[in-house]
C-alpha cells in the first residue's frame, strides 16, 4: 500500500477578504476527503480563520434575519475540515502563529487549532511530502 501523503498549506489571508481563502479551503477539503495528513500554518490575518467569536448577523439591506442570511463563517469551515479529515482516516494539524495571534488578540479558536511558532512551519515543511504557500495578494 502506498504511503499516505502529508501536505502542508501555508495561509496568510484574513477571512472575508479574498477569494484565496475559498480556494485554500477547497484545496484542504480535497486533501481531507482523500484522508491525507495535512498541516496548516496560518499567519498574519489568517490566524482569524478559526477565530471562535465569529458570529452570524442579519442583513438589513436584503431584509434577511440572521437565520435567513445564514452567513458562512470560516471558523465552521475549519471545524468541518478537521472533522472530515478525521472521518477519512487523516488528520489536520492546524497551527496559528502565536506572534500573529498576540498582535491581533485572536487567541480564542475553535477546537482542534493550536498555537504555534514559525518553528512549526519549518517542522511541517521538513516532514511533509510537499508544501504550498498561498501568499496574500
Amino acid at each position: 500500500m502506498a504511503k499516505k501523503p502529508m501536505l502542508t498549506f501555508v495561509l496568510m489571508d484574513a477571512p472575508f477578504e479574498s477569494a484565496r481563502t475559498t480556494t485554500a479551503m477547497r484545496l484542504l477539503d480535497i486533501a481531507a476527503r482523500r484522508g491525507y495528513d495535512i498541516n496548516v500554518f496560518a499567519y498574519e490575518g489568517a490566524v482569524y480563520l478559526p477565530f471562535a467569536r465569529q458570529t452570524q448577523h442579519p442583513n438589513a439591506v436584503h431584509g434577511h434575519d440572521t437565520e435567513e442570511e445564514n452567513h458562512p463563517l470560516p471558523k465552521d469551515w475549519v471545524g468541518a475540515l478537521i472533522a472530515e479529515a478525521e472521518s477519512r482516516g487523516g488528520s489536520i494539524d492546524w497551527a496559528n502563529c502565536g506572534l500573529c495571534v498576540d498582535e491581533r488578540g485572536a487567541e480564542e479558536c475553535v477546537s482542534g487549532v493550536r498555537r504555534g511558532t514559525p518553528a512549526d512551519l519549518v517542522d511541517f515543511a521538513k516532514r511533509s511530502d510537499n508544501t504550498l504557500v498561498i501568499p496574500t495578494s
Binding site: 501523503p5 501536505l7 477569494a19 484565496r20 480556494t23 477547497r26 484545496l27 480535497i30 486533501a31 482523500r34 491525507y36 511530502d129 510537499n130 504550498l132 504557500v133 498561498i134 501568499p135 495578494s137
Partner: protein
C-alpha cells in the same frame, strides 16, 4: 528535470504582474522542465483571451489549465476558452502536490 505547477490567481486587469506565470512557465519549459499553469479565481479570465504571454507559454509546451469551479462561478462556458486551455478540477493541484511537483502560487 523538474515538474512545476504555477498557479495564476489574478488577471492583468487587477495585477500588472499577473502574466508573469506564463512568462516563467515558458522559460522553465524551454529548459526542459514539465510545466503546467493552473488558472484559478480571476486568473481564469485570461483563459478566454489570446494574450501573447499565454500563446507563448503554449508554444513552449506549457500545459494550460483553468479551474472548472472558477469558470462556472464567472459564467464562462468551455466554448469561450482559448482552444489551448483545458477546464480542469482543482483536484489536479492536490494530485501534483502529492506527486511532489514544485507548486508555486503567484
Amino acid at each position: 528535470m523538474d515538474h512545476y505547477v504555477l498557479i495564476a490567481s489574478r488577471n492583468d486587469r487587477e495585477a500588472r504582474d499577473a502574466n508573469y506565470c506564463f512568462e516563467l512557465g515558458a522559460k522553465l519549459a524551454s529548459k526542459g522542465h514539465t510545466v503546467a499553469v493552473f488558472m484559478v479565481q480571476n486568473g481564469v479570465l485570461t483563459a478566454c483571451e489570446d494574450k501573447p504571454e499565454l500563446l507563448a507559454a503554449r508554444d513552449a509546451g506549457v500545459m494550460l489549465l483553468a479551474d472548472s469551479f472558477s469558470l462556472r462561478e464567472r459564467g464562462i462556458s468551455a466554448a469561450r476558452l482559448n482552444e489551448s486551455v483545458l477546464s480542469t478540477a482543482l483536484d489536479f493541484v492536490v494530485d501534483r502536490l502529492a506527486a511532489g511537483d514544485k507548486v508555486i502560487w503567484h
